[in-house]
Structures are given as C-alpha cells and as structure tokens.
Symmetry: C2
Subunit: 321 residues, 2 copies
C-alpha cells in the first residue's frame, strides 16, 4: 500500500490521511493498522490529563516546545471525550491557534467522540501507533475532561501526568481520588495562585497514604506556571526519570503487555458481539425478543441471554451435514 | 424470592440489600432484576448532570424537598463515574450529610465505578428499576463529572437537567457543546454571581442555533440559587411540562423503546463477547494469539478477528456427529 510506505517515510499528508481513515472507521483502516503495527513500539508516550480549566493545553504546548529544543519530533493527540455530538469542532479550533502548529517537527491532531467511548479509545490507540510508525519520537496524549474516559485513554500512555490547580471546587475531591491512582507525575499548575502549597501538601499526604512497597515509583508533585513556562523542564525531567525507572524495573514491558492484552480482549468482545447482533437482526430473532422486553414480560438480560444462546446454537445447527 | 416480595412492598432494608447485590454483581442480581422488571415503568426519572463544582447535590437536595412536599416518594441515585478506584467512598460520605437522609419517603444511594464504565451504566439502570419496583414515584439520577459517562448514564432519565454556573473556565466550552445536546432543561445555578445573565443569553443563543423543527421541545434556561432554595420550583415545573410534552407527543414511548433497545444490544455484545473470551482462554488459543501480538507480528485487531473466527468455527466442529 503506497499510503503505508509514505507514512513510514514520515510524509505528513499520508499521516493526516491515515488518521482520517482511522477516525472515520473506513474499511481500509484495519489494513492500515495491521500494516504499520510491526513498525510501532519505538515512540515514548506521555499522557496529560486533569479536570477542565487546569491549563492542560498550555502545559502540553510548553512540553512540546521543550522536546523540540532537544531535536525530538513530537506528535500531539488531543482527545475530547466530553463532546460526543460536537464532533470536536471546538477543540479543533483551539488547536489551530497553538504554538508549534507550523513546525514541521510537530504534528497535532484532535480526536472527538463519535458515538461510543470504546470507539474513541480505540481511535486514540490507533492514532498513537500511526504517529509512532511515522517516526515521531515523543507522543503526547492530552484529554479534556475528567473521569473514566481518561482512564481508558491513558492506557496508551507509558507515563501519565495529572494536572490540578489550587481552588478547584468541592466535587474535585471525588475526581482527585480517581486520577491520583493513574498519576505517575502530579502537577499543580497556576502555582502562583493562593493555595498552591496547601494543595501540594494535600496531594503528597494522599500519595503517602496510598504508597505501596518501598521499591515502587513514588509520583512527584511538581509546581508549574505553564503560561510563564515555569516548572515545565522539571516535569519533563520527571517523565524521563519515570521512563528509566520503568525500563530498569522491567515494568515497561509488563505495562505494554497489559495494554495489548486489554486491547485484544476488548476487540474479541466487540467482534463476537457484533456477529451475534448481526445474526439476531437478520434472523428476525431481534424483533421478537425486543417486543417481549417492551411489554415487560422479559427483562433485558434474560432476553439478551436467550438471543446469544440461540446464536451459538444456530451456528451448531447450520454446520450439521 | 422473599427478598423480591419485601422489596415490592417497599421494605427499605430489602431494597438496600437488593442494591448491594446488584452493585456486587452477585449471581442473584440477575434473577432479582428479572423478577422486578415486570413491576417497573411507573416511576418518573429525572437526571441532573453538569461539570464539577456547579452545585448539583444542592439542586438535587432542593428538588427532593419540593417533591416530598407534594407527598411523592423520592429515590436518589448519585452516580460517580469519576472515581474508578475510590469505590465512591467520598461521595458516600457527602451523602450521609444530606437533607432528607432521615425521611422514610426518601431513599438515597451512591454508585461508583468498579471497573468498566459499561458496568456502572448497567448498575444505574438496575438500581433505578429496583427503586421503581419498590414504589418510589420520582427517581433522581445525579452524576458527578462531565463527559461521555453522563451521556451513558442519562439514558435512564426521561428528563435531563444540565446545570452550569457563571465563570467556568475555557474548556467548559467543549463540555457545553456535548451536554447541551442531552439537556431537556438548562439551569444556571449560583445565579447571584456575576455573569449569570450573560451565560443565560449565551445558552439561549446556542440553543437557538441547534433548534430543530418547530414542533419539538425547546429546552428552557432557568436561573437558580440552590443554596437559598431560589428558582427550584420553576425547575420542577419545567420537568413536569417536559414529561407532559413527551407523553402527549408520543415521544415518551419512543424514548423508552430506544433505551431498552440499546440496553439489550449492549447485553448481547457483552454475553457473546464473554463466551468467545472464555473459549479462547480455556482452549489455550488466547496465549498463542497474544504472544504473536506482543512480538508485533500480528496487530491486535487481526489477532482478535482470528480468535473470533476460530471460536465460531469451533462451535461448528463440536456439533458434528
């Protein structure tokens, strides 16, 4: 495939086209993913997440700038799990105004939900691999929002940076509990605001409580003022330390294996599920099962179990001589 | 099942026990869901969502209070998709301090992610049905956070109230685009703050842009100061109007059908997927497929497709005489 060759050569237009095919779930996207997969696994991936309004984009811009200064080529995937209907138009607009948008060593792309969350997560992984195969050395994965979606998306990052700011409201306590668990590095951005030191202490205390064995990585809590480019070099240094830690402890390989395992598992479920649904619809079994549910005579789970049992049984019957 | 009878009689302890079984995915939970399903479909469901820090809990507390004043029994399901690891402990603490927590006509329960998002969504639907079967007239579904998770969870609400406040940061623009699409009623809370009228106008303009046919529901934008119980009666009145609109236009039935359709579809995928995975693991096909992926010789999607094809083929072979 000519597109694959050009992409592997680092051609930006080929890369852009490949990403679009992937986002649109074009039939070619699967072949493309299969063709580039053997050429992946070299790039370093870095995730940046946190609740809305903490300045993630500014931090990412600053990190891109610092990485470029060392000559590394940088890809940015900005994932927006919050706008299933906006099609990412807003995020896209913001991206065009970004620093580095005209640097040939930087490639920025936004991804938005177009339907189910699982789809977005799969797209993210695929796009990271396309950038990897196209020769980008560092890939930054940025997500807008906060929640389970980030956890799914951050699977594709080897190092996850969680950003918070002083003065977040009440409910952020709940969010914090979740994202602390995925954070390899914690950043308190807008650290010139009141309450920054208090938040740092609070986060360190929380991490202390959750600390595991003495041998494991202890997430640092770092202060930044991203709008003034302050503290970002320390963040990048911490990311480098984390990578070296993972490599030397053997966790890097274990982490990659866990990710790929989860990905194949998810795809098996998807494909098997789709086969069952296709059968149910074409055989007319779907309509009768659903009308039982609508009449509240059968509950949804029993109806689904009945359909799947019949699907697997039908495969058996069909194969009889 | 004795538990079912007691639950249908409105016994609170039976209800609490049933919810715990559901949350823990106890083997009994499926039977329980099947047994109560024919007794569901009576309660009115109301969803309350929006980004962190907008005062959702205070709004919900106020709505509970108003509903109780008319004699209706009210269930509250507070769903926390943001803390996959905290087990909802933080949300649980906050709930104990709530107004109405000691009123026998009010039942409040929190649900947190314990693994995949789909699980949480299924739990929410099941718990809403348990409350419905136990005779609660109004069920409020509250979610912390903002994003795709809410969209999934709000499927279970007939009327969705989206809350915003003046002065939210930059990225909230992105969130707004998504949640506007699911909002039946928009609330600008903390409306005594500067910028409230501007936000109302902005939201009305956005709604105007997205407005469809003249016949369809036009989401009202309402101002509240929930901490002072101001404006909540108008929110409840709007929710009532929305319900009547859905009923008279036939959309209520269509909405319920769409939800149940999506639920059965999701369950078919889950069950078929699980059958395929169970086979792959027990047959040893899993390990060999995964090692091909880890060596980057086969990409994840091709590996998954191969496993599913073999799974369906194996069912065939097994059935041969």
């Amino acid at each position: 495939m000519d597109l694959v060759d050009r992409l592997l050569d680092g051609d930006r237009r080929a890369l852009a086209r490949a990403i679009t095919l992937t986002e649109n779930e074009d039939p070619l996207a699967g072949d493309l993913a299969a063709a580039v997969f053997p050429h992946t696994g070299r790039a370093r991936t870095l995730g940046v997440t946190g609740p809305p309004g903490v300045g993630k984009s500014t931090v990412v811009d600053g990190l891109v700038h610092l990485e470029r200064a060392t000559g590394r080529r940088v890809g940015v995937v900005a994932v927006d799990p919050t706008s299933p209907f906006s099609g990412g138009a807003i995020l896209g607009d913001r991206i065009r105004m970004r620093r580095g948008a005209s640097d040939p060593g930087v490639f920025i792309r936004s991804l938005a939900t177009r339907g189910h969350l699982g789809g977005l997560s799969w797209h993210t992984g695929s796009v990271v691999r396309l950038l990897d195969a196209a020769g980008f050395d560092t890939i930054l994965i940025e997500t807008v929002g906060a929640g389970q979606a980030e956890v799914e998306i951050m699977r594709y990052a080897v190092t996850t940076i969680v950003i918070l700011v002083p003065g977040l409201g009440d409910e952020v306590q709940a969010i914090k509990a979740g994202i602390l668990e995925i954070a390899d590095i914690l950043v308190v951005n807008k650290a010139d605001r009141e309450g920054a030191d208090g938040l740092v202490r609070e986060l360190e205390a929380t991490l202390e409580l959750g600390a595991g064995s003495a041998a494991s990585w202890k997430p640092p809590v770092l202060k930044t003022v991203a709008t003034a480019d302050r503290g970002l070099d320390a963040v990048l240094a911490a990311a480098h330390d984390h990578y070296l830690y993972l490599e030397s402890s053997g966790s890097l390989q274990a982490r990659l294996e866990r990710e790929l395992n989860a990905e194949v598992r998810g795809l098996v479920r998807d494909l098997a599920g789709r086969a069952a649904l296709d059968w149910a619809r074409s055989a007319g079994a779907w309509d009768s099962a659903l009308s039982e549910v609508l009449a509240r005579r059968t509950d949804p789970r029993s109806a689904a179990a009945g359909l799947v049992t019949r699907f697997l049984g039908r495969v058996q019957r069909k194969s009889r001589p």
